[in-house]
């Protein structure tokens, strides 16, 4: 990095140009066979080789251009930022803290008004284009944004926050978290369809069931850590899914459970009938009220998860989780019962997975084992890791980017004009995950918000100059 600062800007561009050519050659070598050729069937059912030089050129140019921009502009500016950051003062740290508080408060406020904001914006757009002022069209149009973006993202935020208790706080790598999500979803689906119990009764019950399963999983894996634990939890997730598929008498197998009752607002159902929500409040019939209700419900559940996490972190059990993550032997010799500590971590994390599951079942009205594949666990874990283990805000941002990005890809229909009609943008969502992973791991190896915020500190903050903080000093 040092040579960048000493040498002039010309050499930076020359170097970047060289790197760009190298990246282009590399891309050419990589994609020559993969992208340049495609086998296809012609009308006589014969295999023919299709040459796609145009697409190959796009790939190579994108790689070279990307490398050039990165090397010429991003790297030098980052070095400057690093130089500027090298002398942190107590003031900037305090600034960062209050900045963070403002961001989280602003984000929270935005979350609370989000559905109405969407309706307002859509109505405004409508007004700008047609000159007609009508909230009703805004209400109808907002359905997609509230449901696909709002609810979908918040479900993952909640799941990731729940998993964060197990992985981020207690340091127990759980690859089968989706199993608890499944337990929650199926307990609501089955108990509601068979016994007609209400959502508000089954929500806590689903949480309790999931927590029980968390303990059941916890017992055999008490002595495992790290990779071994990961493998066993992965297997556990698959077992639950296979049971759901094969125990057809109860779960109806791959057909899934359908016709699950919707949630009600304290007994007021969201149906078009005379007792329904819309009739009760004299509003025109619309499916959007239920979506908005679900939005606030999942927002409440997610915030509950966050609140419990924040509270627990300050309590002895939360402390014990964090200490357990750092050093298990030290924990035990300080008198902490690591068995119960681990089990409570599994149970608490699983409970929130169960809540999210029962919400999922109420929202979809249909559950099947297909919703609970390993990929879901992997996505939730990826969100936790990308966001920075243990950081609630980081995880929320990661979930918004990853899940919102996936949903956004569905909207990018104009890409069909560029890449041709058989281009389906949503198939590239895994590319988004891979890209985000690489970007975050290169720049922020500990996630977006990688620093653990201490849960206790003395308020009379002392200035500690950086020369005291060197390791091996004193």
């Amino acid at each position: 990095m040092a040579d960048i600062q000493t040498s002039g800007p010309d050499s930076v561009y020359a170097k970047a140009f060289k790197e760009a050519i190298f990246a282009g050659v590399l891309a050419l070598g990589l994609f020559f066979l993969i992208v340049g050729f495609r086998t296809d069937q012609n009308i006589n059912n014969e295999l023919v080789l299709v040459q796609r030089w145009g697409l190959l050129t796009i790939f190579v140019v994108v790689a070279a251009l990307g490398r050039f921009i990165f090397a010429a502009f991003v790297v030098p500016s980052r070095t400057q930022v690093k130089v500027a950051k090298a002398k942190p003062s107590a003031a900037t740290q305090a600034d960062r803290r209050s900045f963070k508080a403002i961001v989280s408060r602003f984000g929270l406020a935005l979350l609370f008004v989000y559905p109405f904001l969407v309706i307002l914006i859509l109505a405004l757009i409508q007004y700008a284009f047609t000159g007609q002022w009508s909230f009703q069209s805004g209400v109808q149009g907002s359905l997609k944004y509230v449901d696909n973006f709002g609810i979908q993202i918040l479900i993952y935020v909640m799941l990731a926050w729940g998993l964060n208790i197990v992985v981020g706080l207690a340091g127990l790598l759980d690859l089968g978290y989706v199993a608890f999500y499944a337990v929650g979803a199926y307990s609501y689906a089955l108990l509601s369809t068979h016994f007609g119990l209400s959502f508000w009764l089954l929500l806590p019950m689903a949480g309790i069931f999931a927590a029980l399963w968390g303990i059941i999983l916890g017992f055999p894996v008490l002595r495992l850590r790290g990779d071994y634990l990961a493998i066993v939890t992965l297997a556990f997730g698959e077992i639950i899914r296979l049971v759901l598929i094969n125990w057809t008498v109860v779960t109806k197998g791959t057909f899934g459970v359908s016709g699950i009752a919707k949630a009600t607002l304290f007994g007021i159902p969201f149906t078009p009938g005379p007792n329904g929500f819309a009739a009760m409040f004299g509003l025109p019939n619309s499916g959007v009220y239920y979506k908005i209700f679900l939005y606030y419900l999942i927002l409440f559940l997610a915030l509950l998860t966050a609140w419990v996490t924040i509270r627990l972190r300050r309590m002895p059990i939360g402390r014990a989780w964090e200490a357990l993550r750092e050093d298990e032997i030290a924990c035990r010799s300080l008198g902490i019962n690591t068995t119960t500590t681990k089990l409570t971590a599994f149970a608490t994390g699983a409970m929130f997975g169960g809540f999210a599951g029962s919400f999922f079942a109420a929202r979809q009205g249909f559950v099947s084992p297909e919703s609970f594949v390993f990929l879901e666990s992997a996505i939730i874990l990826a969100i936790v890791v990308l966001g920075g283990m243990g950081s609630l805000i980081g995880i929320a941002i990661a979930a918004a980017v990853m899940i919102g990005g996936t949903e956004l890809l569905r909207e990018l229909e104009f890409l069909k004009l560029v890449f041709g009609n058989d281009f389906t943008p949503e198939l590239y969502r895994m590319l988004l995950f891979g890209l985000a992973m690489i970007v975050v791991m290169v720049w922020k190896p500990r996630g977006f918000v990688g620093n653990r915020e201490p849960s206790a500190f003395l308020h009379e903050r002392k200035m500690i100059s950086s020369e005291f903080t060197k390791e091996g000093h004193g």
């Binding site: 750092e326 050093d327 032997i329 030290a330 010799s333 300080l334 091996g472």
Partner: protein, 249 residues
């Protein structure tokens, strides 16, 4: 900091009787008998790999003694779970310090005080800061960013927060500058004098340890080969030849 109860001279606070410990099939300790009376500083010296740390961890049941007994204050703790042993107010500053690196100094100390749910945190932390003023300066700093000596102070401080009756110290001088070692040893002595805390000190730094302790044991290959008062051991020609001559450090 300790709640020492006067014990009859006949029953030591800690006694390890004929203990054998294995790692798989490898015997690490063979028939070790060691005791510490209340109010004493006892040291166990020996070379690398002699089994000193194994003995210390055996007291905590990690690993468990296969034969023999560990008795603390008249209670057989050989088969007790580790956290139960800690609850009897045995605290340790383990080998390699094992502080919580991502937690602050204060949080580390709070972890030490978790047995009493932080009830005596303010009072005890003040005592720890009197002993190691450096820790107070670093109170909001993460454990992992402390220097080696400060980490050692934190490990001892964290152990003291548990209000121990018996303090086990595993090589507190490891990798530290002589000045820091002196400071830490003085702090241990001071603690023992003012509160009557029983200290069991495992050390490679034989000279310093014997200077500090009342009594000592010498361990070779999992066997206690010699024991006696510190003065005797310091004067013993065998001990001198094996551990002391060739640089007092």
């Amino acid at each position: 900091m300790s709640q020492t109860q006067p014990l009859a001279k006949s029953s030591p606070l800690l006694s390890i009787e004929n203990v054998e410990t294995y790692y798989g099939n490898i015997r690490a300790l063979s028939g070790v008998s060691v005791h510490a009376d209340a109010g004493e500083i006892v040291t166990l010296i020996g070379a690398n790999g002699a089994g000193k740390s194994t003995l210390m961890m055996t007291i905590f049941g990690m690993p468990r003694a296969r034969t023999g007994r560990v008795v603390f204050a008249g209670q057989d703790i050989t088969q007790l779970p580790t956290h139960e042993i800690a609850r009897l107010r045995i605290a340790q500053s383990p080998e390699g310090r094992r502080i919580f690196p991502r937690m602050t100094v204060q949080e580390n100390l709070q972890m030490g005080a978790s047995l009493d749910n932080l009830e005596f945190y303010d009072e005890d932390s003040r005592k720890v800061f009197d002993l190691f003023p450096r820790l107070k300066e670093r109170i909001n700093q993460r454990g992992g960013t402390l220097s080696g000596g400060e980490q050692q102070m934190l490990a001892i401080g964290r152990a003291l927060m548990a209000r121990p009756r018996l303090l086990l110290l595993d090589e507190p001088s490891l990798g530290l500058a002589p000045l820091i070692i002196k400071h830490i040893f003085e702090a241990i002595k001071e603690l023992n004098k003012s509160t009557g805390l029983t200290v069991f000190l495992v050390e490679q730094n034989a000279f310093g340890a014997l200077k500090l302790a009342d009594r000592g044991y010498v361990m070779v290959n999992g066997i206690v080969t010699m024991s006696g008062s510190s003065k005797e051991l310091l004067a013993n020609p065998e001990v001198r030849a094996a551990y002391l001559e060739g640089g007092r450090h």
